[in-house]
């Protein structure tokens, strides 16, 4: 009798649960054709908390996300990845590129109401080159001979020599002189409650929980429609995904397998895909005789089927890479041919190099020694580990034995890369919008800690890199970098494997989201939610 009662109780309890099935399915079918209205909150998620809400000091991407909304540089990249004025209304390049004169916007105010002037630009520059300031970004600004304030809204920058990427370096967020001029810059309280000129004003920062920003009604390009921006810290990717399914976050960067998950998970989200500004490559230590021979590098390239890697590792969410510039960059030369998958040619080249006989395991050998090398990659990046395994199998097919070593990041850099004690390396580069890759390819950049760790040396590449830095004319620069693309692709110091894609999803109620060469988010302050679909109210 008693157990029967229990059973019925349990049954009743269970039947109550579906009753709390919240969230009535809402309809977000508004096509966003009406006039934009203000309101609602945008909730983004991040794996890590920010460190410094000060663009001069910040090195992590979380701080960068917030700083981009709170601060402005003198210039910025527009939707088509062209540099346009931001705080600078216009600029002129004089004396063959040695001098840049910025004309600043006149009625821009800091979030605390003070006017923005040329003195703030001068102040930010002084901090960037100040040896006591803990900034890692000084090097670009040390090329400046002097910076003169020639009027309240004009700044004249003179370089020691013409430096085309200099223009991009002025996208650095400008700091308010009146708040930073006293006290220690590195520990200034405004590093945690930033005052900028950007579309969003800082509201609060609850450490390890969230950062809250409010729309800036006085933003010089117009008040953002979204009233508030909340940056939630959710350190686990799978929990972020659950929060997205619960619609408690409005944006999420997906992994390829998440992107391919059940469509009903994304019922109220729009998914986007576009190439990110990065590539993954297999680099060779060119100091070693085996790799110094171009024919060997070609043989490896012919044995690699990039499509299998992209399908296997990225589930097709990427593109085969042909060189050091991503396809949406103006420096990318669409005429450069991708390496061909051709195992016969690979075997033929290896034969020319003296590797003809196969041993019992099927690996080629020369003078009794098997043809093998070790690929190292860093720990914690599953995609790279998988890529290495696919490469291993593909190269085995032509008789090259590949060993894989996965090494913890710090040891990877300091014991192996810096010491040049590696044979081949599987890594990726995130590249800047400006195509200057001097530090990666120039033969002078091979000291410990510098980035030409494969010791690539090509005098034509060196001179093209120099020319690219000296040339301000966009068309001439384009020709220089496209030539560079061609030469490097032909030389094969790296085998460029793939360009991964960014795979964000954004809640459907946000209208005005547009994919451009710059991705999404370039017009974030223009995103809006129709009144009937607004989810949160902001007092």
């Amino acid at each position: 009798m008693k157990s029967k009662t229990c059973f019925y109780c349990a049954l009743i309890l269970l039947s109550m649960f579906p009753a709390c099935r919240k969230v009535p399915a809402r309809d977000y079918s508004d096509r966003g054709t009406g006039a934009p209205v203000s309101g609602d909150i945008y909730v983004a998620a991040s794996i890590g908390d920010a460190s410094y809400l000060n663009p001069v000091l910040a090195t992590d991407s979380s701080s960068g996300d917030i700083n981009a909304l709170v601060f402005n540089g003198l210039v910025k990249y527009n939707r088509d990845l062209k540099l346009v004025g931001d705080l600078a209304e216009s600029w002129r390049v004089l004396e063959g590129g040695r001098k840049i004169i910025f004309k600043l916007r006149e009625n821009v105010r800091w979030h605390d109401g003070q006017p923005f002037t040329a003195a703030d630009v001068e102040f930010t520059y002084e901090k960037l080159i100040d040896p006591s300031v803990k900034t890692p970004y000084g090097s670009d600004y040390l090329l400046i001979q002097n910076l003169k304030v020639t009027g309240p809204y004009t700044v004249e920058v003179t370089y020691k020599q013409p430096f085309a990427p200099a223009l991009e370096s002025w996208s650095m967020g400008m700091l308010p002189k009146h708040l930073f001029s006293s006290g220690d810059f590195n520990t200034n309280p405004y590093n945690r409650k930033p005052v900028g000129t950007g579309p969003f004003k800082f509201r609060e920062w609850v450490t390890d929980e969230k950062i809250v920003l409010d729309a800036n009604p006085d933003y010089f390009e117009g008040k953002p429609y979204v009233s508030r921006y909340i940056y939630r810290i959710i350190p686990d990717q799978s929990v972020q995904f659950l929060e997205m399914r619960r619609e408690s976050i409005d944006e999420l960067g997906l992994t390829p397998d998440e992107w391919r998950a059940y469509p009903e998970f994304f019922r109220n989200y729009n998914k986007f895909r576009y190439p990110s500004f990065s590539y993954v490559y297999l680099g060779f230590n060119l100091r070693l005789p085996l790799f110094a021979d171009k024919r060997f590098r070609q043989a490896v390239a012919f044995a690699i089927k990039k499509k299998d890697i992209i399908d296997g590792v990225l589930l097709g969410m990427g593109r085969s890479a042909t060189g050091p510039f991503p396809p949406q960059s103006w420096a990318y030369d669409p005429g450069v041919k991708d390496t061909e998958y051709n195992p016969e040619r690979s075997l033929k080249l290896l034969g020319e190099l003296g590797y003809a006989k196969k041993d019992a395991e099927g690996y080629l050998e020369k003078d009794g020694r098997p043809l093998e090398f070790t690929v190292i990659t860093n720990q914690g990046n599953k995609m790279r580990e998988l890529t290495a395994e696919i490469l291993q199998a593909q190269l085995k097919a032509v008789g090259i034995k590949v060993n894989i070593r996965v090494i913890e990041w710090s040891s990877f850099i300091h014991q192996f890369i810096d010491k040049r004690s590696f044979e081949a390396v599987l890594l990726g580069w995130s590249v800047s919008r400006d195509p200057d890759q001097y530090s990666i390819w120039n033969s002078s950049q091979t000291r410990e800690g510098q980035y030409n760790f494969i010791s690539y040396k090509n005098s034509e590449v060196d001179s093209l890199l120099d020319e690219g830095r000296r040339t301000f004319d966009q068309h001439k620069r384009e020709a220089v970098y496209r030539r560079l693309h061609k030469i490097i692709a032909d030389d094969l110091p790296y085998i460029f494997l793939y360009y991964p894609e960014s795979l964000p999803c954004v809640h459907k109620r946000f209208k005005g989201v547009e994919v451009a060469p710059a991705g999404i988010g370039w017009n974030f302050y223009k995103w809006w939610v129709p009144g009937s679909e607004q989810k949160y109210t902001v007092e």
Partner: protein, 323 residues
């Protein structure tokens, strides 16, 4: 008693300094400098800029100089500033401490509330169905990975039923809520983490209570009590339980450091702003001042916990005091 406490305290100081030395050494043996963790392989940061940064943080000096400097500051209780965001290490810890205490005290209370009755009952009815079922139950809790269980519960209660929040400690509109609303909000965020951390931590304590209860029940004085014809409740709660709980006191003393610690994986899953994440992230970023501060506090609490356990033991058990 006082000399006993003083003696124990004076032993603790060299141990504490030894712990800081070892922590510091281990920290410096790990490859990579704090300034390099974010600037390595960043083509925007030149090698010279990295050297400059290292010098600004005093990382160009040999480790013993750095340790001596640290010890000098520690002597006046200055734990230095975090390398990551320039804030005092102590402030960063103070920020996380209440959240960690809240979660860990609640889960400890829940563990006590469940483990003691389970232990007593299993001991009284040894080898019964209840005993076997609870054994299986607590060991499931012990063996199941907390993060996996957390994800399953998040899917069940957060997505399928939609009754509980998935992660975090506060809702987004927390600051605009009334006081009861705030309490309810925090409570609903705490249900899953407290339940899961209690469930996964139940095994130890309940087994201790069970075995010490079993031992006590076999003692002569219990048999005497039964022979005198005392009511069973009185025998169990007055005579047996009092003695059986002695080892539990020790365990509780030793769990003092766990009150401020907390699992990194656990806090990461629940996006919970606690000490575990602070410590782990500091280690990964090679944020020496924060690592050292967390290390010192953990070491201090461990030593304190041992001391408290010993003293309460001496207090509740006269046999130890008189030895």
């Amino acid at each position: 008693m006082r000399t006993y406490i003083l003696k124990r305290l004076s032993y603790s100081i060299p141990i504490l300094i030894g712990i800081t030395l070892i922590t510091f050494l281990v920290m410096h043996l790990a490859p990579g400098k704090p300034t390099e963790m974010l600037t390595d392989m960043n083509a925007r940061v030149s090698a010279d800029a990295k050297t400059k940064l290292a010098a600004l943080y005093g990382l160009d000096k040999p480790w013993y100089v750095q340790y001596a400097r640290w010890l000098g500051r520690f002597a006046v209780l200055d734990f230095g500033k975090s390398f990551r965001d320039g804030r005092p290490a102590v402030a960063k810890i103070a920020e996380r401490l209440p959240a960690s205490l809240l979660l860990n005290i609640l889960s400890l209370l829940l563990i006590l509330a469940a483990a003691v009755p389970i232990g007593i009952f299993s001991a009284l009815h040894k080898d019964s169905i209840f005993d076997k079922a609870t054994t299986v139950f607590v060991f499931i809790g012990f063996s199941v990975p907390a993060f996996w269980l957390a994800l399953l519960f998040m899917i069940l209660f957060g997505l399928k039923f939609g009754v509980l929040p998935i992660s975090g400690l506060h809702s987004l509109d927390y600051s605009g809520m009334s006081v009861p609303g705030k309490l309810l909000d925090v409570a609903s965020h705490l249900i899953l983490p407290v339940f899961i951390s209690a469930f996964t931590g139940l095994a130890g304590l309940s087994r201790y209570v069970r075995s010490s209860m079993l031992e006590v029940l076999r003692q002569d004085y219990i048999r005497t009590a039964y022979a005198k014809g005392l009511p069973e409740n009185r025998i169990i709660f007055r005579h047996a339980l009092k003695n059986a709980l002695l080892p539990v006191v020790t365990i509780l003393g030793l769990s003092l450091p766990a009150l401020i610690g907390g699992g990194f994986i656990f806090e990461t899953i629940f996006a919970y702003p606690g000490m575990g994440r602070l410590g782990y992230e500091a280690v990964m970023a090679r944020d020496y001042p924060v690592v050292m501060a967390v290390g010192v506090i953990a070491a201090f609490l461990t030593l304190l916990g041992n001391l408290v356990a010993d003293i309460t033991y001496a207090w509740v058990d006269p046999r130890i005091r008189y030895k």
